[in-house]
Symmetry: C2
Subunit: 218 residues, 2 copies
DNA sequence: CTTTTACAGCGACACCTGTCGCGTTAAGAT
DNA sequence: ATCTTAACGCGACAGGTGTCGCTGTAAAAG
């Protein structure tokens, strides 16, 4: 039981050392997982996050309700597993040739992802308030993205746009946070100008010496 | 019915022009509202947002379930009305003597409000994903706060810390957004240094010419 | 090819959500 | 003081949520 819970929270399929040789991830179990995860996406786009119930997922996937509850615990757990399954992609940060361009492109991606009807990202954020599994998945996802975005800052340093040391995480948060604030917290409509403005602001702050850099006199 | 819905979304007690002379906000109706709203707070701190059900509120207040559903529609509507009832306070922005200090003080207030156990603010944000009433109340609340914070920027301009024109809203968002990003979206633990860092970053960006100001050479 | 047992199927359950129609009460207007 | 009707009380309802104990099946170990 505790094992089942752990598996659901992890959401994945690999790395289970606790029982010496117990888990059984092959054949039917894997097939069930595929069926269930395949049902989540379509249901999300058809009925939105509020229409996404464990019952509906179970019915569409042909898997029993109790099985879904046992393995995924709640809707948040389902979304988390979908994210993990799809998040193992090879996304890389944009490379436009200058720091501000990279950050703006990043912000435009964020705005697109959050603005689309029945967005997986938005659903996960909503679920993260009620589901520990979704909250964890979200945290992992963002941590992963920040990790991959160090390139953006390193390239800027290499070009001489910034002088080290740069607190990468702080810069990235400053650049993207206004978007989340507008789209997620204020539930505002997407604003085409916002990605550029937020990127510009973050670059100005960075060049003025925020994030641990020394100001680079012109 | 449409009237009931409107009333619930507005959440308040005044200004109903549609029916010439119909509404009936006195006596019993007002008493019911008081009883219900008085039950929300304690239930929120005792059981948290997830434990806050319409049924529980109805039971504690001694008002019938159906009445609560009719007037407030859902938990989000209840929280929205609590906010409206309490939000008519005379909050004013902090005045510490310098822009960065004001913004830091503002951020510390935000961090405190969002960090407390069973925070009303956090509950409202969570509810805003499932309840139009909560989303509206949240938007109105923030709009009101931004309105009251223009003083901070005006004082900074008067002191010569900034040169007009200043896009006030953009500056305030830049200063506070990283906090929301950390506390609300990443569900992170409160970080005592973050309010100051975010304030400092926003001030640096402002003085570097973001938000429509011209850079003020030293 | 057997045995073990992890995992799925199944139905029951207690509870919360949200809506409905009907009868009752009491604001507010005459 | 009386009438009208907005708003509440009441119980029923059709869902969804999450858990439980049991039985059945098929991975994985021998």
């Amino acid at each position: 039981m505790a094992v089942t819970k752990k598996e659901a929270e992890g959401g994945g399929e690999a790395a289970e050392p606790p029982p010496p040789a117990a888990r059984r991830p092959g054949g039917r179990t894997a097939r069930v997982r595929d069926q269930v995860l395949a049902a989540v996406g379509p249901l999300l786009v058809e009925h939105g996050y509020d229409g996404l119930s464990v019952d509906a997922v179970a019915a569409r996937s042909g898997v029993h309700r109790a099985t879904v509850y046992r393995r995924w615990r709640d809707v948040g757990g389902l979304l988390a597993d979908v994210l993990d399954a799809a998040g193992a992609d090879r996304w890389t940060a944009p490379d436009t040739g200058c720091l501000e361009g990279d950050l703006r492109a990043l912000n435009e991606e964020v705005q697109d992802a959050l603005s689309e009807e029945s967005s997986l990202a938005m659903a996960l954020i909503a679920a993260s308030f009620r589901s520990a599994g979704a909250a964890d998945a979200l945290r992992r996802f963002w941590e992963d993205r920040y990790e991959r975005c160090v390139d953006v800052v390193e390239r800027a340093v290499a070009r001489g746009e910034l002088t080290p040391p740069v607190e990468t995480r702080g810069l990235l948060v400053a650049a993207t946070a206004p978007l989340y604030h507008h789209l997620v917290l204020l539930h505002g409509a997407p604003d085409p100008a916002l990605p550029g403005e937020a990127a510009r602001t973050a670059v100005l702050a960075a060049r003025a010496g925020a994030f641990g850099t020394r100001s680079r006199p012109e």
